[in-house]
Amino acid sequence: MKITEICIIEDHKIVRDNLRSYLELHEEFKVGLVCGSAEEFFNEVKHANGISCEILLLDIGLPKMSGIEALPLLLELKPELNIIILSSYEEEDMILKAICNGACSYISKKTSLKDIVDAIRVVIQGGSYMSPSIAREIINHLMGGRVSKATILSERQKEILEKMVDGKTYTEISTELFISVETVRSHIKKMYKVLHVNNKSEAISMYLKGQIK
């Protein structure tokens, strides 16, 4: 059985100790360096002439150098190192930073110990593990966000946009919807703001591309 060496960088002792204890219960794992900070890890690695582990469980909120900052330095030391972020941060920007800096997985600290082990196994097998909530954040980011990258229109705005797509004039739209031309204009103005477009053509284009919810 292949034994995978796992290192841990976590500043809280109780988390560190529990992780080590739980992992050591599994014969497939060998717990290597367990450090409370990135600096301590680099120091140990220097003395040891290199990183020997394959998997590194890395916390983000570390004293001095954060896990995000340590990521590229770690990969520089050992590019093939599989770094799994184990953090209580579930914010989109933190997740993206970690992944962009080279983490192969991101696990929330709300994950049970058993699921953490499962995640490690997935990574050993060449996969990438994300906690469900983490994965959702990533998906949302890829989908263009929520309100801030707003493409969400109100019902009335959607109605008006559809009629614009049909080629109706403002007067025709106002007649069909039983509102004044000024109200039509007002909705269209808000709509352009929401969609971040400058004119009718851009709005219609977005609609036709299905970018509008």
Binding site: I14, N18, S112, K114
Partner: protein, 1110 residues
Amino acid sequence: MKNIRNKYLVYLYLKVAFSVTMFGCSPSAEEKPIAEDFKNAEFNLVSLDSLPTPDQTFIESKRTLKLGKPEIVSYKNNKVDFKYLKNKISLPQILIPGENGIIEPKSNPLIINKRNIGRPVVIQATEPKSKDFNPYNLLNYGLSTGLIDNKVHNTFQDSKGNLWFGTYKGVTQFNGSTNKHYTINQGFLDDFFVKMKEDAKGNLWFLFDKEIEVFDGKSLVNFRFQPEDKFLDLFTDIIIDRKGNIWVSSRERGVFKIDKNLQTYTHYGEKEGLSDKVLCMVEDQNGSIWLGTENEGLFKWDGKIFCNYTKGLFDKTVFSISLSRKNELWIGTWTGISKISGDFIEHFVGLSPSWTSSVFMDSNENVWFSTLSNGAFYLNQNKIYNIHAKNGLPSNEAYDVMQDQAGYIWISTVNGVAKCNTMFRAITEEDGLTSSVVRSLAVDKKQNLWIGSELGGISYFDLQKETFSKFYMKDGLPGSNIVSLLVDADQETWVGCYIGYLSKISADWKTITHYPLSGSFLVSIFQDHLGDIWYSSREKGGVFRLNKKSNQLTHYTTKQGLVDDQVIKISQDADLNYIFATFKGVSFLSKDKGVFTNYPMSPNQKFDIVESSFQDHTGAYWFGILTDNGLIRLDRKTNKIFTFLEESGLPDNTVMGIIQDKNKNLWVNTLSGLARISRYNLEHFNDVIMKSQNVIINGFTKENGYLDNGDGRHYIAIDKNGFLWVPNAKSVARVDLSANVRETKNMKVEIVNVTLFNESLEWKRDSTYTLSNGLRIEKLAFSDFEPWTGLPLGLKLSHNNNYLGFQFAAINTSNPIAVKYEYILEGLDKKWSTPTYFNEVSYAKIPPGKYTFKVRGINSNGVSREEASFNFEISPPFWQTWYAYLAYILLFGISLYFYIRFRVWQRLKKIKEREALRTKISSDLHDDVGSILTGLSMQSQMMSLKADEKAKKQLLELSDMSFEAMDRMRDTVWAIDPSRDRFENLVDRMRSFAEKNLPNKNIKHNFVIEIDKPKEFINPDKRQAVFLIFKEALTNILKHTNATHVDIKVIKDKRGFFLYIKDNGTNKPVENKEGQGLGNMRLRAEKINANLKLEYIKGFAVTLSFMLED
């Protein structure tokens, strides 16, 4: 953050702007109230009934004597005999240029030479002199008064009022205060002055013996005629015709007409039909030029032909010529003058053995002429009077006579110039008075004058016969010191003596009646409306009333209520009240003699020796005070008194006789001269005073020809012919009220000098001056020199040369001493100064700026409209210049900008620090607490591995609780995370929660978002409260309803924020088991001032709304 910065910037700006505004404002100065000059009159009433009755006696002891025959002498009045001839004018000889050998006059170019003129020599004028015997009150000017020479043979007055005295040594300009000498030293080419004229532009044309020079105030232009090598002209006269051409006559070469273009001239001589020997010229009303010649008669040039008049002339030599207002031509000839009017010529000759140097008619239609051996003459109503060296003229050799703008006659002689005010004539013992010291006057029905003298008796002046009849003690007078006179209605003449008793001369001059018991020192005699004779005896005290018919004598004293027993004048007013002017006040006795109204002497009403009293036509009373207390006006209707003193324009505070002429002007005799108050001022007295204007008093003193000192106590008289008779110390003055001698209304003032630090400078451009005090005057600049005064135009001085003085002088040759000045420095003074006699003023420490100094004069006609002005500028120091101020503003702006930026940076820093703190707290919470909870959970999981089932379950629950605690903590961290302070963050989180939790219970949801400006900030408290309410609402749906669908709507617009959550669960309200959820929602809503509505309408509906902050 941006909103906060903007608000802060606006606040700071307003604060700074407000401060600057308040600092820059200053209160305006208060105005001073107008002073009151009217005082309340003090008086008391005394009823004669309450006092002892006056003593009554009968004049029994009186003597009637035969009056001696008076000595009768003629009043020569300087009349002279003359030969009068009248001829018809013969037809003239006609000479037409271009015909009969007479050549056409030619036009030739002038030889013009322009050059600068030097500064004149300025001599301060001193007082003119006069001779002892001086019936015409002449004032003589010459070398001793500052003229360049005594030998003045022409006097000219320019349009500004300056007099120019031309001599053979140059010309003197006289403005009343100073003499300025112009000679070859100043640049003139000749000193031998002949005549001068002023053209329409104000240039002065000087005619010298051999030169014609024009002076424009700055430079001289010399005109010469060709050919230069034959330059032998001896010029005789110069005139300027109505077209602007200048005519110059010469003794040997005819006449030169300088065309108004000043480039060419036309010559007229014998060849052109004129004579070569032209002595004088004048333009008549038709525009024809009349030329007087030597021995060739009179020529007239109408522009086309010459007419030569010789026959009928008394003499063919015409020395001088003038035109009267009646279009009569007056010519000066040998021994006299001739008048050409219509077809006739009249001669008034035989007056002088030599020729008449000048002739003209004055504004009173007297014809004046000067002669070279017998002084000056004037013709009036076919009588000729002679002014010569023995009656005041400096010399009999008179060259010229002219009248100035004010009406004074100036007679130029070889020994100076005499100024004559034709208003005044002095009649003295030499003329026929018994004595020159006149004490009393009276006018009889024939308008002849009774004149009482000191130590002289009485002179009866018959104005028609021009004789004096003299009465002395030897003729029956009781005394020689005649201090009072009265001609009563019966034409009997009452006489009061200083030492001596009352007497009466019969109307037929046959007898004189003495009243020995009348008392002596009788200073006033008066006849009332009943015919009673009133007189005051200073020896006996009080006043006496004599009934002429019954001879009853009634004696009034202080016992009967008189204010004082020393009564100086007795009179009656229009209401027939008796007025007694006394040593200690004025008493009014009612017509019925029942009540005395006494105005006693007091500090407020200085009735201290009331010399005279008079009631004018408006009903006001005037009192002359002898003790230097001036002239007092009493208005009995308003009970107000007003006092005039020398400051008001009175010649002297010692006032004597007062009278009103036929034009209702008031005349007042004072110790130093006469004063006149016009009818207008009498009639508008209250208005004039209440408007703080000056009541104009026209003063006549020695400066303007009234040479004697007033005397004669209260006596002053006017005859029917309009002559005012005023007793004086050495004469009786006859004042011709019809004489047109009046100061000009538009008296000009000149600024004659501008000083710096009290020093005069010779103004030169680009110069540096070092004053006597060591101060250097630098950076002085001006554009040009002002003509005539030579003062710098557009003067600019540096900020530290800001001590300027101005000296000014009125052009007033009539009465310069009486001129007052008002001035103002515009830019510094707020109003004109009070009138002052001082003719200079200084201003120290004048701040930078542009200024105009203005000054105007006040003469007897009031304030002149003519103002003199001088503009100058004090440059600011460089730190007060506009560019310096601009730099200050820029500096201030930059400082303000950086200050605001600094404050904003400070504020932002604080905000950032707070945010950093919040971030740190949230980060620390997130890390530390999160890690602890994670550790707790892991520990529980580890422990559960070895625990039994029950413990394991509990441990796993503990682990779940830890996770839940982590979620709660994450909510809290999110709430305080400053990077999540926007509406979009709130909506994201709500949406995330809904998406994460609702599907777990198979509840579908519809999340509608209508957010206007999602990136706007939301208050952290509100953000957290809304999320927690949302979370609670959804938790309730998740836990306690059987809903399958939830509608969620989030709206944010200008109306506010709205959250709407509605599920399709059961209609029954389902309480949260813990019972805290809905309550918490309400509390949270209340905390953020939001409206929360919880309804159960086919499901659980939550509506939350609140207004947005600005």
